[in-house]
């Protein structure tokens, strides 16, 4: 249960000594409540204060790390039901599953594909995060062979799915020190699988048939010393999974219900591509920390990568590109000059349309703190003087034979003030929509 500033203040020395780098204990207490400082900064905090504040600041959903250093994946530690309340924190990890009942030689191509897959979008490189090895054969040797090959070939964190404790142990030995996620401990085998998890310092999936059984199981595992747990409550119907995910997230956040305070794993496997995409989207939207996939079709991965990127954007920190002059094509001294905001989406849309137009151009990107054109104008970040300053600072004036600046149609109203701020320049009002840039530039090329 989160403590208020006042509750924390009552536990502090109240001497206002300032050694925590904050002037008063009250101010320090408010910062502690906002989790923007650590109690460790106060040299005089009592044991009681440390215990109480420590317990209250324990994350409601455990942070779990999977995989070897270098390609470690962090999941959990979410703090909201809805991204607009603050933000989602750790993007859903995608795990590609491979079964050990296929000849390994046949799988090596797909495993390599899983390693190589990289989608570049809006300046980010999007990849598959984990590999799941499935012990379908229930035998030890093929499982170990698959695990060794997949881990070695991809360097990614592994999920070891097996009902055979012997196979699990053999695989864990192979991956010693690489922190794979063990799937899974159940009410029937909790003690023995927990022992493996502790011995190999590996996080552990807790799997049960109902929410109550799951809560009981995690309580048992925690009692045995297992801290890094991931929850699996299997269901065929995506509605059931949606409901379970929601109940778990709510219990952890709203009720600080510790037995369910862990990240969730969902499976979007064993389906046709359309169903897999549809279900995976629901899981990504609604609280899954790991989604397991078994299809490598690029057209099926594309929407999932894009959705994850979109949903896990911090609503308060829109993605931005560096403000500077971007050449589109190979522009020369007579090429048109355009300007727009540094919101990533704006930049990629506009530059994309400019590329398509086939007309080389100079694109002056103005620092607008990631706001779109109209938003930035309304906030006074995309005004005549700000654009003029960006143009002057870029040094592009010296490289041009014709000084004509095309502004986005939505801010036609600034053309006068911009011309005043940029003497010697002609300001043209371009189209309101990026998609009209091509025709606009071709029409005006003759000038």
């Amino acid at each position: 249960m989160a403590l208020t500033g006042l509750q924390i203040f009552k536990l502090l020395p109240k001497t206002n000594c300032g050694e925590c780098a904050v002037p008063t204990c009250m101010a320090f207490a408010m910062k502690l409540a906002a989790k923007s400082v650590d109690l460790a900064a106060c040299p005089y905090a009592s044991e009681e204060a440390r215990k109480t504040v420590g317990a209250a600041s324990k994350p409601p959903i455990r942070l779990v790390k999977i995989g070897p250093p270098g390609s470690e994946v962090a999941i959990g530690n979410e703090t909201v039901m809805f991204r607009h309340e603050k933000t989602f924190v750790h993007p859903t990890a995608f795990a590609m599953a491979f079964a050990d009942d296929q000849p390994l030689s046949g799988l090596s191509h797909s495993i390599a594909e899983a390693r190589e897959y990289c989608l570049e979008r809006v300046g980010e490189k999007l990849r598959l995060d984990l590999i799941l090895a499935d012990n379908v054969s229930e035998a030890v040797a093929p499982f170990v062979a698959l695990v060794r090959t997949a881990a070695g070939a991809t360097g990614r964190g592994m999920i070891l799915r097996s009902d055979n404790p012997e196979a699990l142990e053999a695989a864990l030995q192979t991956l010693d020190g690489q922190r794979p996620l063990i799937h899974a401990a159940t009410p029937a085998n909790a003690e023995s699988i927990a022992a493996l998890a502790l011995q190999y310092k590996a996080p552990l999936v807790a799997r049960a048939a109902t929410l109550d059984q799951l809560a009981e199981l995690t309580g048992k595992l925690a009692g045995l010393g297992v801290k890094d747990i991931v929850l699996d409550l299997p269901a065929d119907n995506p509605a059931a999974i949606l409901q379970n995910n929601t109940v778990i997230r709510k219990a952890a956040l709203k009720n600080t219900y510790e037995p369910l305070g862990y990240p969730i794993i969902n499976f979007a496997t064993g389906r046709d591509a359309a169903s897999a995409v549809a279900d995976a989207c629901t899981f990504i939207c609604k609280y899954a920390s790991i989604v397991v996939l078994d299809r490598m079709e690029y057209e099926a991965l594309l929407p999932l990568m894009m959705l994850r990127q979109n949903l896990y954007t911090d609503p308060q920190k829109p993605i931005q590109v560096e403000p500077k002059v971007y050449p589109v094509g190979e522009p020369g001294p007579a090429s048109p000059v355009l300007t727009t905001s540094n919101f990533s989406l704006t930049y990629f849309l506009v530059s994309g349309e400019l590329e398509n137009s086939g007309v080389p151009a100079h694109l002056v990107i103005v620092e607008t703190e990631g706001m779109s054109v109209l938003t930035a104008w309304a906030a006074g970040k995309f005004t005549g003087s700000r654009i003029a300053a960006a143009v002057k600072a870029s040094g592009i004036e010296g490289r041009l034979t014709a000084r004509r600046l095309i502004i986005p149609g939505c801010v036609a109203q600034i053309s006068g003030e911009l011309e005043e701020a940029l003497p010697g320049w002609e300001v043209l009002v371009g189209p309101a929509e990026a998609v009209d840039l091509g025709p606009y530039l071709k029409r005006n090329a003759a000038r």
Binding site: R83, P238, V277, A278, P303, L307, L311
Partner: protein
Amino acid sequence: MGYNHAVVAQSPIDVNMCKQLNILLSNMGVPPEKIVIDPNTGALGYGLEYTYSVMERIRTSALMGDGMLAWPMLVTPGHEVARTKESRAPESDFPQWGKGPERGALLEIATAISLLNAGADLLVLYHPEAARTVGRKIQEMAQGSE
């Protein structure tokens, strides 16, 4: 109102403007059962998360008692996704995007399902495959968790 039609109230991904429009329509005498909210759909990769969050905010406000946001929501994944480069470009131009024909449908499905999770009540789709899959998923989800 003269011909007893329902009206779609469209606002530019803004909770306050959505509410204001609904108030204006209500004050003009449009019956409550004749209004549908359109928060303006952004396609996957082109502003989806803005629509998504605005819809969640509209729906949660309505469920907590805000009568001027308590209407069904309409989304247009078909139109928006069809405009995107990702739904139309040939695989040869962008091999990382996979096969062209299937891709358009899957992008529309992803946009539609995401907005369904944000509270969409009426989805306007273009691709027949998307309509089939999304329709099937709605049936599955409506049957509930047995």
